[in-house]
């Protein structure tokens, strides 16, 4: 089992992270990666009219606590699906539109496990890991509100049996 969790200011290289998961070898058949990028506007799925141009995003976190929470989320994924490797990288500090924010990479024998686990880790990360975003929007800075859609996405997994 290969688990790698990192909270870092510096950018990451998806190709290199993928290559590391691929080197797991034995029994490996599927790798899913999710990358979150800073959007050039701030929108809210529950308010389709809302859209503001974004210049910078500042990401704050709670050192040590964040890493532990991410580790807990990955551990939960491991109990739910049959996995060979999980990589989570979350950036902090000042980011611009199109910058990479977060990477979740999952390696498994069968594809459904990797797809499910990657989406689960993202949904839980969004609602349970101690990150906060401040957006610089239309010349003003504001802390972003949590989204109902993220809470709903995470709640989904509570009802799903391990498969």
């Amino acid at each position: 089992m290969s688990i790698s969790i990192s909270v870092q200011a510096k950018d990451f290289d998806l190709g290199a992270e993928y290559d590391r998961l691929r080197s797991i070898g034995d029994g490996l058949g599927a790798i899913v990666t999710f990358t979150g990028l800073v959007r050039d506007f701030e929108s809210r799925p529950e308010e389709p009219q809302y859209s503001r141009k974004l210049t910078t995003l500042t990401l704050q976190h709670y050192p040590e606590m964040t890493e532990r929470l991410l580790s807990d989320i990955v551990e939960q994924a491991l109990t739910r699906w049959s996995l060979l490797g999980v990589t989570v990288i979350h950036r902090i500090g000042s980011l611009s539109p199109n910058d990479q924010i977060v990477l979740v990479g999952v390696a498994s024998t069968h594809r459904h496990d990797a797809f499910q686990a990657a989406e689960f880790v993202m949904d839980y990360l969004k609602t349970r890991a101690t990150f906060w975003k401040k957006a610089h929007v239309d010349g003003q800075e504001q802390w972003l509100d949590a989204k109902h859609s993220d809470a709903n996405a995470a709640a989904r997994w509570d009802d799903i049996k391990h498969d």
């Binding site: 979150g36 709670y62 990150f131």
Partner: protein, 83 residues
């Protein structure tokens, strides 16, 4: 001493307050600290009282009446927005 941490929007509201406060039996729960802050920082206490705000002690989420001990790190956490 108790070490206080305020994250996200709470950090802006708490920018003026002392983050290292003497440990005292009257301030031995996060709830007591929250109430104490109301005297000089009513807006901060109002925000801290929102039901979505969580509190942690030494990086573990706890209830607001969790007992505090000298040296504890108490963090106030608004709803997270990572990813």
């Amino acid at each position: 001493m108790l070490n206080l941490l305020f994250f996200g929007r709470l950090g802006d509201l708490a920018s003026g307050i002392d983050k290292a406060i003497p440990y005292h039996i009257d301030l031995a729960t996060p709830l007591a600290i929250r109430n104490k802050l109301a005297e000089q920082h009513p807006l901060l206490t109002k925000e801290l009282s929102e039901p979505q705000v969580l509190v942690s002690v030494n990086k573990m989420i706890v209830k607001w009446d969790h007992p505090l001990f000298d040296g504890d790190e108490v963090a106030f956490l608004p709803p997270v927005t990572g990813g």
